[in-house]
Amino acid sequence: MNSHRQVVIIGSGPAGLTAAIYTARANLEPLVIEGEPSSDSDQPGGQLMLTTEVENFPGFPDGIMGPELMMNCKMQAERFGAEFLTAKVTSVDVSSRPFKIETTTRETFTADAVIVATGARSLMLGLEAEKRLLGYGLSTCATCDGFFHRGFEVGVVGGGDSALEEAMFLSKFATKVYVIHRRAELRASKIMADRAKANPKLEFVWNSVVTDLVGDTTLEAAVLRDVETGEETKLPIHGLFVAIGHIPNTDVFRGILDSDEAGYLKTVGFSTYTNVEGVFACGDVQDHVYRQAITAAGSGCMAAIDCERWLESVHT
């Protein structure tokens, strides 16, 4: 694999793959460092790899499965010559040109331009018991693990669209799904909230947070605290799914690229320019507002165009 590239794209969700399609069609022969497989962090294909049906991506009137959509995008990028490396980036050096990128496969690449599309990952609860029970009743992927809770009661933590989507998916298997939310109202969109409230298997547990998990080798119960009264109760459940929000994957860019207080990368105006000339950011890593597959894809396209024009301007 050629170690010098005009463009290296880090990340392979909708943003990274759209940037790959556009830069490949512009003959920039991009290398996409797509990430490494994981069930509890970022991964090749991004967050859509952990979903089922995507109903709101334009062009698919009957919906499309998240993993299938991402596989299609990857094939589309490969068709125009994008190359893929299954690895994570361990360090980025933008102090001199060309930029230097090191990976978990112990390879070093240099690049004239870098497009950062590392996305965001699910936040966990931050409990000690989490490490012990992840994969043993505690899960970050309802579509992967819902199947194993047929005939049991489960819980979902969170009150946004992702939480409700998981809860409704789980209601196909579980006898009851408790939706545990720290507020007294949902943060989700109206269409999702209406569907969830109409689902007879869902039971909402308002004003509650999970403070501990019970079970040595498999999950037996969650300890809930009522945030208003402080009262703690034990909720016996066979599975618990966490959907309480996201955190941007910006660890390797800390101190290199400007970010906001929550860690999201800052871009200049309506562009995808970061504070380092030649480094562009797109998708959820720089967007905590919209966070949709289609907006990520759109900003991936913007990054590719910004990148192409910038390369032209420095090469002439």
Binding site: E36, S38, L50, T51, T86, A87, Y136
Partner: protein
Amino acid sequence: MSDNLLTLTDSNFDETLVGADTPVLVDFWAEWCGPCKTIAPILEQIATERSGQLTIGKLNVDDNLATQARFDVMSIPTLILFKGGEPLVRLVGAKGKNQLLEELDRYL
């Protein structure tokens, strides 16, 4: 498909694992699991690269509920390494190739 990639079922599971010449890494997977699909090509590469040292057995949890229940699989992908029919180590969740090899090579 590589020779050291087997399809396991509820009915051939014990027989195959006890009779295997090498340790067998059983991949509990399903069609609807995104991360399972992500690691499938990695497992095929490992099957080829560790040929003669390791066999990989694919077990579809949809079609083989008894084996899934017997090993209390509650999350997929789950990989369990068996030697002489006995489980040695269990890896839950999708992992990268280097990480998998690091975990597996100490048993091979």
